[in-house]
C-alpha cells in the first residue's frame, strides 16, 4: 500500500499552477481579495510617482565632495555639506589632531556590540570585556596618562557626547534603577513610598524639564563656589530619568520570578542581600534584557534633547554647521544624514533585542 501511495503521489503531485511559484505568490500576497488588489495598485502607482524624483534628487543630480558654491547651482542633493564638515559633525571641537581617539573608542564600542550580538559569546568574560572596554574608552577620550593629551569633557562633542550620555547614562542608571525597583517591592512602607514617589514623579514629567532643571536650577542647589560641569549635570539628569524607567522594567522582571525561588533561597539560609544577589537578580535581570535594550534605544534617541540646553551632541554640531553662512540651506541633507545615523544605531539595537527575545523564550 505504501508503494501504491508513492505511485499515486507521483502522478498527482502538482498543485494547481495558480497556487504555487511566482504567480501563486503574487496571487496570494498581492491580489488575494478585491480590496487588496486595489491597495496593491494604488501603492504601486504611488511608488512609481515617488521613487524616480527622489532617486534623481538623492543620487543622479546630487553632488558629493564639492565646495558650497557648487552646491548652490545644483538641483540635486548637496551631500557636500556632510563630506566637507564630517569631522566637525562627528567630533565637534574635540582637538582636531586627536580625532583618532574618538574613532578608536567608537570602534571598540562597535566591537563590543558585535560580540554581544552573538549569544555564544555571552559569559562573564564579555561582561568584564564591557567594563574594561568602557574604561579604556574613557581613558582614551580623556587622556592625561600614557602621554595622551588631556581633553576636557567639555570638548567631547558630536558622536562622542551622544554615546557618552547614552551609554554612561544607562550604565550608571542601572544600579540605581535596580535599587529603586527593590525599594518599590520592599515591605517597608516608608522605603516603598519614597521609591514610588520618585519613580512616578520622574516618569510624569518630560525629560527636557529635567534638563532645564539641570542647567538652570542645579547650580543653585550647590553650595557657593562648587560647580559641576554642564555635561555632567545633563548626564545626571539623564541618569535620574533613565533610572526611573529601568526601575519599572526591573520590577517587571522581579515579579516574573516565582515565589518558590525566594522561599528556596530563604530555606537555604541565605539572607536578604545574598538572596537577591545570587538567586533573584541574576534571573530577573536576564528576563528584562530585551526591555532594557529598548530603554537604551530611548536613551540614545533622547540624548538629542540636550541640544535644547546647548550641549554639542551630534544634532547640535550638525546644526552649528548649518549656522555657517556657507552651508545654510542644506538642512534637508544634513538632517537625512543624522537621521540615517540614528536609525542605524537604533535599528540594529532593536533587531538585537528582538533576536534576543526569541532566543530567551526558547
Amino acid at each position: 500500500m505504501s508503494q501504491q501511495t508513492t505511485q499515486h503521489r507521483k502522478y498527482e503531485a502538482r498543485p494547481p499552477i495558480a497556487s504555487v511559484g511566482v504567480i501563486g505568490w503574487i496571487r496570494q500576497n498581492l491580489f488575494n481579495s478585491p480590496l487588496n488588489s486595489v491597495l496593491t495598485i494604488i501603492i504601486m502607482a504611488g511608488l512609481v510617482q515617488l521613487l524616480p524624483p527622489v532617486t534623481k534628487w538623492a543620487f543622479i543630480d546630487s553632488v558629493w565632495f564639492t565646495s558650497a558654491d557648487v552646491c548652490k547651482d545644483t538641483s540635486g542633493a548637496c551631500w557636500s555639506v556632510i563630506s566637507q564638515n564630517l569631522r566637525f559633525i562627528l567630533f565637534g571641537f574635540y582637538p582636531y589632531d586627536e580625532h583618532w581617539r574618538p574613532i578608536t573608542s567608537v570602534l571598540i564600542l562597535f566591537g563590543l556590540f558585535w560580540l554581544s550580538y552573538y549569544r555564544q559569546f555571552w559569559s562573564k568574560k564579555l561582561l568584564y570585556g564591557w567594563l574594561v572596554g568602557l574604561v579604556v574608552m574613557g581613558v582614551l577620550m580623556k587622556g592625561g596618562i600614557f602621554g595622551l593629551v588631556p581633553v576636557e569633557t567639555t570638548q567631547w562633542s558630536g558622536i562622542s557626547l551622544t554615546l557618552l550620555l547614552s551609554l554612561f547614562g544607562l550604565t550608571a542608571a542601572y544600579p540605581l534603577g535596580v535599587m529603586l525597583a527593590l525599594g518599590r517591592r520592599s515591605t517597608l512602607p516608608a522605603v516603598k513610598t519614597l521609591c514610588v514617589i520618585y519613580i512616578e514623579l520622574i516618569r510624569g514629567v518630560p525629560l527636557i524639564s529635567l534638563l532645564f532643571m539641570s542647567s538652570v536650577m542645579f547650580p543653585l542647589f550647590l553650595p557657593e563656589g562648587v560647580t559641576i560641569d554642564k555635561i555632567l549635570r545633563a548626564q545626571v539628569a539623564i541618569i535620574l530619568f533613565t533610572a526611573a524607567y529601568i526601575a519599572e522594567v526591573v520590577r517587571g522582571g522581579l515579579q516574573a520570578i516565582p515565589k518558590g525561588q525566594y522561599e528556596a533561597a530563604e530555606a537555604l539560609g541565605l539572607e536578604y542581600g545574598l538572596k537577591m544577589r545570587l538567586i533573584i537578580l541574576p534571573q530577573a535581570l536576564k528576563v528584562v534584557i530585551p526591555p532594557t535594550v529598548s530603554i537604551l534605544i530611548s536613551a540614545f534617541k533622547d540624548t538629542s534633547l540636550v541640544i535644547i540646553i546647548g550641549l554639542f551632541d551630534i544634532m547640535k554640531t550638525t546644526k552649528t554647521t548649518l549656522a555657517n553662512p556657507e552651508w545654510m540651506g542644506f538642512s534637508t541633507e544634513a538632517y537625512i544624514f543624522i537621521a540615517i545615523l540614528y536609525f542605524l544605531g537604533c535599528f540594529s539595537m532593536s533587531n538585537f533585542s528582538r533576536n534576543l527575545e526569541k532566543t530567551l523564550k526558547t
Binding site: T5, E12, V20, G24
Partner: protein
Amino acid sequence: MTEQTANTFDASSSEPIIEIIDMHKWYGDFHVLSDINLSVERGERIVICGPSGSGKSTLIRCINRLEQHQRGKIIVDNIELSNDLKNIEKIRAEVGMVFQHFNLFPHLTILENLTLGPIWVRKEPKKEAEETAMYYLNKVQIAEQAKKYPGQLSGGQQQRVAIARSLCMKPKVMLFDEPTSALDPEMVKEVLDVMIDLAQEGMTMLVVSHEMGFARSVAHRVLFMDSGQIVEQNTPEEFFHNPQNERTQKFLSQILH
C-alpha cells in the same frame, strides 16, 4: 450505558449529508490531502484516526471551510462549498465544530458564549436563545455555571460548554477535532459521556479521535488516514479485529496496548 447504540448503520436508508468527491488540498507545494472521497449519511457517526500529520484535522476543517481545498468538490446538505460567501455562511451555520483547545470566548460568560451565535447569526430573540442555551447546558450538566467565565471552569467543563455552544446553533452535523486530547484523564470521561449522549440522539458526527473505546462503542464507521489519504475504512469490529492494511495494523498495535 452504550449498549443502546447499535453499531450498525443502514446506509441505503437516507441521502448523504456530506459528500466529498476527488478532493485535493495543498499547502504551497505540500500535498496534505489527496484524492479524498467520502460520503456521510444523515445520522451516521464516523471516527477518523491515523498518525499525527496525516491530515485528519485538515480534512474536517475543509468541511466547514476553515481551510480551502484546491481541487474536487465538497457538498454539505446539497450546498457546494465554493468561494461564495453566502454558501459558506449557510454551511457554517449547519455544521458545528468542537476544537481540541475548546476556544471559548474568555471575555463572555458561559451563557453569552452560548447565545452569541444564535443571536447574531440565527437572529433569535435573546430570551429564546437563552432558553435554548440553558437547555443544552442542562444537557451537558453544567447549568449552574451559566454566569461564570470560561477561565473559572475546569478543562472538562470547558469542553462540555464548547459542545453545548455548537449545539445551540442546531447543527445538522457535528465535527470534533480531538476533543479530549487536551484534557486530564479524569475529565475525558465527562466529555465522552456527553458525546455518547449526543450519539444516542442520532446526531451526525465526524470525530477525529484516538479514543478507541469510544470508536468501538458508538462509531458506525472508522476511517484510517495516512499521508493525506483515506487508507482504510470499515466498521469498528472489522477495523479493530481484522485490519486489512499493513499501516493500520502497525498503528493499531501501537495504540492498543
